[in-house]
Amino acid sequence: MRSTLVLVVALAAATAFTAWWLLRSTEPPAWNDAEIVVLQSLALESLPLLPPDPSNAVADEPLAADFGAELFFDARLSGNGGISCATCHQPVRHFTDGLPKGQAIGTSKRNTPSIIGTAYSPWLYWDGRRDSQWSQALSPLEDPNEQGTNRIHIVRIVARNPSYRSQYEALFEPLPDIADKARFPDVREAAHGPDWEAVWSSMTPDDRAVINRAFANIGKAIAAFERTLMPRASRFDHYVDAVINGDLQAQETALTDEEIRGLRLFIGEASCTQCHNGPLFTNNEFHNTGVLSAEGELPDKGRVVGVREVLENPFNCLGDFSDDPERFCPELEFVRTGTSLIGTVRTPSLRNVEHTAPYMHKGQLATLAEALAHYNRAPDAMIGHNEAKPLNLNGRQLRQLEAFLRTLSSPIGSE
């Protein structure tokens, strides 16, 4: 009898201990004040008001955004009449294309990045070779592998289309008369190589300026549309709201325990927020993370080349086509140069990262698991210096991080 009692007590104690142990090991610990500050800094609520773009006078004009949206989706703005901005920047894929490298008239040099939230970035492209959305929007139009045409042809398309002409003239000045094909050659080919050089240099400096001005304006309308593309709230954002309000029920609905553990790793041991910080999960800076070169290609030199290009680009913030009389361009004026930029590329946003595979500047890594495994190893860079340190996380921790990354997804479309 007594021995039965002892047995029952022992069993009860063991059960209680097991229950305590199980509960203890599944319930993630509560956040401390410092961690809550970091969580808050990552939430969409912390996104500051979009700063004005004084280089683009129509940046916040709704009519310009409407005109820009039409141009963005218009495949006539290309050498073969079949490629628009949206060929690669597909709204249903969060403005990416699901391919390692963009496929248009040819194959692009790099992976197609999303446009959402880029209005906040001082630099555009993986290598930051443009410094505004409007100057960026001009480049694919003239890239032989992308839209593959040239600025004269683009201005001509807008001038010949009555709707485009009236929208353009309502926003900017009257379109120049470019009907004279002797002065404004009728070529559709990409603005690239000796043939184009010959055409362009046959024009007078004044005529070239007329084309450049109208071309820049077209970019500014496209940028006015792109400026409206902002991320929407994700489960992560709802979770942070719930943490701040102390709403335990809402916290549990928003994220699972594994996802919360992943989040803890993300802001802690895995050091992800060194680069993927702020509400857009990017510092928009340039880092070398030692990704392997793409097949058949040289290692990408990245920003060290991009910075030279942006400083020379006639459509940059300091150039003749900026609308800012002050030419207030601190990012360009105080830009970092030098060998520390070898092999660096811009940190991409992690919002909707689940839906923007493949990853890295040449789409070298197909899945989130591969990307995380890469950071876990942090191998020496082929060129330059890998700034990341090995994380030495175990398989379970990597899966938790991946689970957390999937909480950054939001519905298609912008707010």
């Binding site: 680069c275 910080n277 702020g278 060129i383």
Partner: protein, 327 residues
């Protein structure tokens, strides 16, 4: 004990001498210096490495390559002159019959150089880092030839390095590494460091912990003192936040509180724990008077511990004041 060690030392020394001698003579322009593979284009040096990204990922090779595959040759300049020099890069099949002992003179005697060439990258100036990619179609003995031209004198400097693609033997790398391990072990044993290390582990741990704790203490000060100067900063547009370019006002004064005027101010900075600098090149753009200087172009791209190094140059000399900053 002593005799034993002397013998081991002698063996190690002899092994190393043989290996180094082989490296230096047989490999022409590419040599192993410490743990770095270096190409010497005459006196111009560059860090040399080869990758086979498809076959072996991030693994680095100094010369010999395990398989016939896509191979990326990288030269990271250790001499600034290479930045402005046109460099060409040629790979030929080894038709000299000299294998590892082929030298520039042997290459110069080849009659049909183009016929033996499997890869040629004409001279280009690469200001940052020199890279070429070649997919080897077959295994065998090859010779790499790098030449760089001095743009002013038009003098040409060359490096020649024979190498094997698809080498079967492991070469003498294991011996080399083994020898290094032995040498290091011997040093540790003889110097008594190994013993001290094991014996002194406890105190090292404590010291390390203290250092970590020191680094973790947030710094709320907006000034720093050094060399009889105090530099105070203020941020007119609100406290510094991550990812926003902004301006500072620096106030420089002597220990007695006398403003320092007409000084030249140079600002650098970075995160010592992450081994990188500021994301921008900030500059003092205006002297505001009363020891105040406007500093434009400040931006931080991550949270954590930063150090801003302010160099104040006056007629008396230059002083570096380091401002700690916890973001």
């Amino acid at each position: 004990m002593t005799t034993e060690w002397t013998t081991i030392r002698l063996i190690v020394f002899l092994t190393l001498s043989v290996l180094f001698a082989q490296n230096a003579t047989a490999h022409g322009g590419v040599v192993q210096e410490d743990d770095l593979c270096v190409i010497k284009v005459s006196y111009l040096r560059a860090h040399f490495k080869v990758y086979q990204p498809r076959a072996s990922g991030h693994e680095q090779f100094c010369e010999d390559l395990p398989v016939a595959s896509e191979s990326v040759f990288v030269m990271e300049y250790l001499h600034d002159a290479l930045v402005t020099m046109p460099i060409d890069f040629r790979i030929i099949r080894d038709v000299t019959g000299k294998g590892r002992f082929a030298r520039l003179e042997d290459v110069e005697q080849i009659e049909d150089l183009d016929g033996a060439t499997v890869f040629y990258q004409p001279a280009t100036t690469e200001p940052d880092v020199f890279t070429v990619v070649h997919e080897f179609g077959e295994e065998g003995d090859f010779i790499g030839i790098v030449s760089a031209m001095q743009p002013d004198t038009r003098k040409i400097y060359a490096a020649v390095f024979p190498f094997e693609v698809g080498f079967t033997g492991v070469g003498y790398w294991p011996f080399f590494i083994g020898a290094l391990v032995l040498l290091q072990l011997q040093y540790l044993l003889m110097s008594g460091r190994l013993k001290r290390w094991f014996g002194g582990r406890g105190s090292t741990g404590v010291a390390g912990l203290c250092l970590c704790l020191l680094l973790l203490v947030p710094t709320g000060e907006t000034y720093a003192d050094a060399g009889g100067l105090r530099v105070t900063y203020s941020t007119p547009a609100g406290p510094p936040t991550v990812n926003r370019i902004h301006s500072w006002v620096l106030h420089v004064e002597s220990a007695e509180g006398v403003p320092i005027e007409n000084a030249e101010i140079i600002v650098r900075g970075g995160m010592p724990e992450h081994d990188h600098g500021l994301p921008t090149h900030p500059r003092v753009t205006e002297e505001l008077g009363g020891g105040d200087y406007r500093l434009d172009g400040m931006r931080f791209h991550m949270r954590g511990y930063w150090e801003i190094e302010v160099t104040v140059v006056t007629e008396e000399g230059s002083t570096v004041v380091v401002i700690p900053l916890q973001l």
